[in-house]
């Protein structure tokens, strides 16, 4: 039968959907709804517990007061500032290196060579490595071992930078790949070199996507406790960091420490600090979404 003569019989007599197919369709839908419900229930339960426990203790003292053995006057000022310090170091290290690696892989590396694919594949793998492994690495080589910096802000920043670097690279590569080829060709046709094209056309066009990825990567870093505990970050620090070589603690470690204590007051404080962490995360994600919507380029 040629394409020009439609099979009229089958058009007129639409076959009824078989009963078996209807049942399997419905069963699949139910499985999907249950999965979604479980995920949602978990999140709601968690949030409810945190807010129910922590809200009474939530207040300015969390970022105004240093930790104390008395839960009634204890705060998390050193952890808040420690988090900011470590996050700043992480960003300073991970953002330029990550974007640079992504630009190289997308714009310069020979795409058809085995070693390029091998490197790209391993970056994907690194993104899936448990954070504790980075902690062990940091303990063995940076906090002690050959570099021997000790459990200071710089060490924590380096470890978290290593941890989020694969995420920054992957997100930046996606953003760079989304820049249409016609932009590069237009630039090359005007006699721009590969470097000029990458720096003046591709990178600015990819910045919104890259910024979104960077913020999401830093959101991951802000919630990490395990690798920092591994390198020996302290749980009780009654002072703010003053430099890269200061001892420090961060919010997740402070929360971890408070939860382990028997007094009711500390449990409340831990939950309150969780709320603070959640608020910071929400703000960061909101900035990411705002950036994406504000500067997203429609081609």
């Amino acid at each position: 039968m040629s394409l020009l003569e439609p099979d009229l019989d089958s058009v007129v007599r639409l076959p009824r959907q078989s009963a078996r197919r209807r049942v399997s369709d419905r069963a699949f839908l139910i499985v999907l709804i249950i999965s979604f419900g479980l995920a949602l229930a978990g999140l709601v339960a968690l949030l409810w517990y945190v807010f129910d426990t922590g809200l009474p203790a939530f207040g300015p003292r969390l970022w105004r007061r240093f930790p104390s053995l008395n839960p009634a006057i204890s705060g998390a000022r050193s952890a808040v500032f420690g988090t900011l310090w470590v996050l700043a170091v992480t960003a300073v290290l991970a953002v330029p290196i990550g974007i640079g690696a992504a630009v190289y892989l997308e714009e310069f590396a020979p795409a058809d060579k085995w070693y390029t694919r091998w490197i790209a594949l391993n970056i994907q793998n690194l993104a899936g490595v448990p954070s504790i492994v980075y902690g062990i690495l940091g303990l063995a080589f940076i906090a002690r071992g050959p570099i021997d910096l000790g459990p200071v802000v710089l060490t924590g920043g380096i470890i978290l930078a290593l941890l989020v670097l694969p995420i920054v690279i992957i997100a930046s590569r996606e953003a760079i790949r989304a820049v249409p080829e016609s932009l590069r060709h237009g630039s090359f046709a005007l006699g721009a070199t590969r470097l000029q094209t990458a720096r003046r056309q591709v990178l600015p066009a990819a910045v919104p996507g890259i910024a979104t990825g960077v913020i999401l990567a830093l959101s991951r870093a802000i919630g990490e406790a395990a690798p920092l505990i591994m390198i020996g970050a302290f749980t009780y620090v009654p002072f703010n960091p003053t430099g890269l070589d200061s001892k420090f603690t961060v919010l997740p470690i402070q929360i971890f420490d408070w939860i382990g204590r028997p007094q009711e007051g500390f449990t409340q404080l831990a939950a309150a600090a969780c709320i603070l962490l959640l608020v910071i995360l929400l703000v960061m994600n909101a900035i990411a979404i705002w950036l994406r919507n504000r500067y997203e380029q429609r081609w």
Binding site: S187, A189, G191, R200, Q201, Q297
Partner: protein, 300 residues
């Protein structure tokens, strides 16, 4: 054969005008090609193509092209889809180099200088030979920065305002955009975007402008403006245009090359040049039956 003398004059002066007869296509080497007088060095001939093949990996896309492009005229490349005319056009400014696996063999002489010679820097080639693409592709920057981009990457810092105004005027866009130079180039209409792309190409003061179906994404009014512009520009520039639109080729071009795809024994479709002549001859008295079949609408 072509006498290609390469005269090393020591340090090339990067700031000298691109419109001087001396051709600077290599880093640090200047070539006085125009002083050579020979068959292909006729100053009226800008490009002289001999035995050109283009391969994409193992498949051959275009084979055995011989063609001379005259200066300050419009040469149209026509033919059915897949006949390799765009591929051929990209050989003139070495943009095929950007496509992984593409390989060009044979010779493309530009004022007698082999564009695929070992000393040629493709970036310098593209500075002399501008290109306008099928789909308008303004940069996501202001109108001003779109036009100033070419001069800037070529190292120009001063006098950009004049360059931008001049290029936009030549592209018949100045009056429409002079009050909104800071606005994004993407905010213009399709036809304006394409004229912006032409202005952008003119801003680096090229010798040749290649156009790859520049009107195929535009409406008839915008198309006719671009066509008028092309005729206006050929006083100063050599223009090579690929078009699907035979009326367009007939309206604007001085010479027309008809390409078609031949099916080889291996099953590959290979682009070949069927006929190349004055446009009037091609459209009134073609010598090849395939040309006649195409222009009368019997195939393609």
């Amino acid at each position: 054969m072509v006498n290609r003398e390469t005269t090393d004059l020591g340090e090339a002066d990067a700031t000298r005008s691109l419109r001087t007869p001396a051709i600077v296509l290599t880093r640090g080497v200047e070539t006085e090609a125009l002083s050579n007088v020979g068959e292909a060095d006729d100053p009226q001939t800008v490009f002289s193509v001999r035995g050109l093949d283009v391969h994409y990996g193992p498949t051959i896309a275009v084979a055995g092209i011989d063609l001379d492009i005259p200066a300050r005229q419009i040469t149209a490349l026509i033919g059915p889809s897949g006949c390799g005319k765009s591929t051929f056009l990209r050989c003139f400014n070495r943009t095929n180099d950007l496509i992984p696996g593409a390989k060009v063999s044979g010779s493309v002489l530009y004022h007698g200088l082999d564009l695929y010679g070992p000393q040629i820097d493709p970036v310098e080639v593209r500075r002399r030979i501008g290109m306008v693409f099928q789909k308008p592709n303004p940069f996501p920057k202001s109108i001003y920065d779109n036009v100033a981009f070419g001069p800037r990457v070529n190292g120009q810092r001063k006098g950009l305002d004049e360059v931008v105004e001049h290029a936009l005027t030549r592209a018949a866009l100045w009056d429409e955009v002079k009050d909104k130079l800071k606005k994004s180039g993407l905010a213009l209409s399709g036809g304006q975007q394409q004229r912006l792309c032409i202005a952008r190409a003119l801003a680096v003061n090229p010798d040749v402008v290649l156009m790859d179906e520049p009107c195929s994404a535009l409406d008839p009014i915008a198309t006719s403006r671009i066509e008028d512009l092309m005729v206006e520009l050929k006083r100063d520039y050599t223009i090579v245009i690929v078009t699907h639109n035979m009326q367009q080729a007939a309206r604007v071009s001085d010479r027309t090359a008809f390409f078609t795809a031949e099916v080889r024994d291996s099953g590959d479709r290979v682009g070949v040049l069927v006929e190349y002549d004055h446009t009037e001859t091609i459209f009134t008295a073609p010598s090849d039956p395939r040309t006649e079949g195409y222009i009368t609408g019997r195939f393609g």
